[in-house]
Symmetry: C2
Subunit: 350 residues, 2 copies
């Protein structure tokens, strides 16, 4: 089911925002359709071009919201690497790259043209270290974009809206730190909006999926635990929402990500009750999709498939699942809806 | 300014909920007034009476919401003590005691009569390990009670309401894990409710105070960072809201807690803008109140003063500040409002 054209979009094809920067990855796109085109709102990760013996990372200058470069000596004993994505200096966390959100458009869902410039670029103290991993939920004619904002104060989720993918408006922080992997359902259910989210529960539990509700998409509450990692399986270490849930006859279909103890990221499939999405009707035992191909197994962070969205190509039975591969590039898989629904029918006993 | 009657309420005076349990502390009360009496909604921490060589802790049985006792051998190498309040077994966090909320009433603010039974007792999966540290905000004739709920999935804040302190109704989780130290302002400000809260920001930052807003007290959003710990001071390790903010001519008065690197908990004083409480007008450099007396310096967790509320005694200029001392007992301090306002006038330059 992987597209033979994979990877569809690679870092080499993305112009950096500055001549002295390089794009190290383009990943984890939000997915929607507008004006007859598939729209991907991609996370583009940049960093200053390397200098020997130095670690240089971009952060916002909070005085003027311009990007400045922080430089650390690799020999400095205060410097501690967590992994290739995160490091600590003097007990403060930093990211090795700064991300922004950029649009790619396609008429067939395969061949994409990427904007030269960012659509949403980090701004203000909440976005000091960058913005990442957007998802888009279309409700009526408004596209609600929500993305991960990273700052010295942690990882939060910010809501924005657009009607035309030309301009956008920030609406405020909807999930305070530590929260990511938010996925807003595309319609009210019994009068309420619902969202999946992934709080960081520190020493208590490996990261779990939760669900909350809202009257206005801006204020959230009624938080409930939905499901957690399963020890000694492919999703033992952490899980979080992937796609925006899709309404089917069998329930709300959600493709989520799970990481194993060895940080291999795969995708699983759940069905949530149509009337009460805090009820899990079905959860796949085995991963629905795992890193297999070389572009999924080797990259900036190896052994990763991670999705933020899917879309049904108009007039077809094809569900296009877009995903980040090895934290490096964007790929897609074609899912036959009839096949998928047959699978769900069998496994959900409905 | 400490009451000479301190401590006002001690664990020995509180009947446990079971004959085989002991009350180890009674602390951190929510404070309000009802029917001409000062009401404290106290956190009562209980545990099974000790047995040699064993660690026994109460948790809810999620099937029937009854308390059961989990027993661990102190020799078990899987057992790891964090501090006297928390331990880990097989990498899962537990508390050493289970807390519930109990009422004490007083006509003079000093002599309290304690209820024989809990007012709010842990119930359901969110409260598996107990409920702690309530605050009460009275809005119109409703007393909104919000308290910390602890479970295997972390530390959250749940909202309830009462009109009479005879019965109450749970309204839902308002801050998902990891969140505590919520303090709701007692009136709308420019049409919105506001609350201080304290997310756990993990590796990013020592715990900071944030502020959010709401239309209905149930759903919250528009989250903004308010202020953080100050390195190498009395509030360097973590800070969080204490009292429900009190409206004064000089701004919203908030007495917050801060812990030093050595986990000494003191109280500080801030003023927030009356029209925009996300603006800090004043923050005390030095602690306003620190552990000094023996009942504050020695106890279940030593060197702690921690407040959840204060109230102006009717017809007086006396602000009664109630606080937990050394995580063991409840004390109070009398603040002369004219003196306090004089201090604020000088320090806030207003």
């Amino acid at each position: 089911m992987r597209c033979i054209e994979n990877p569809l979009i690679t870092p080499e094809s993305i112009p950096p925002t500055r001549a002295d920067f390089e794009v190290v990855s383009v990943i984890n796109p939000a997915v929607t359709q507008y004006n007859g085109q598939v729209i991907l709102l991609m996370r583009v990760c940049e960093r200053p071009i390397s200098q020997s013996g130095k670690l240089r990372t971009p952060v916002l200058d909070l005085k003027n919201s311009e990007v400045k470069i922080k430089t650390f000596s690799l020999n400095d004993p205060q410097l501690q690497y967590s992994d290739v994505r995160v490091f600590k200096y003097n007990n403060r966390s930093y990211l090795t790259t700064m991300s922004h959100l950029r649009i790619a458009r396609s008429s067939n869902g395969i061949d994409f043209v990427t904007d030269e410039k960012p659509f949403i670029f980090p701004y203000g103290p909440d976005e000091e270290y960058g913005i990442e991993d957007a998802r888009i939920t279309k409700i009526n004619s408004i596209f609600y974009i929500y993305y991960v904002a990273v700052s010295r104060y942690g990882i939060s989720t910010v809501l924005a809206e657009t009607e035309d993918f030309e301009s956008f408006k920030r609406l405020g922080m909807i999930f305070a730190p530590q929260n990511k992997d938010v996925a807003v359902f595309p319609q009210r259910i019994n009068g309420k909006y619902y969202a999946l989210f992934r709080p960081d529960t520190g020493d208590f539990a490996n990261p779990c999926m939760w669900i909350g509700s809202s009257d206005d998409l801006l204020h959230w509450g009624n938080y409930t635990y939905l499901m957690g990692p399963r020890p000694n399986t492919w999703d033992s270490k952490r899980i979080g929402a992937g796609t925006v849930p899709l309404k089917t006859d069998h329930g709300w279909l959600e493709i989520y990500h799970g990481a194993s103890d060895k940080d291999v990221y795969s995708l699983g499939l759940i069905l949530l009750d149509l009337e009460d999405p805090s009820k899990v009707l079905f959860r796949s035992e085995k991963p629905f999709f795992s890193p297999v191909e070389s572009y999924e197994r080797l990259g900036f962070f190896s052994d990763v498939v991670f999705t933020n969205g899917m879309t049904v190509l108009p007039g077809t039975d094809t569900l296009m699942l877009y995903y980040g591969a090895a934290d490096t590039c964007i790929c897609a898989a074609r899912l036959d809806m009839q096949e998928l629904f047959g699978y769900l029918r069998i496994h959900s006993n409905r």
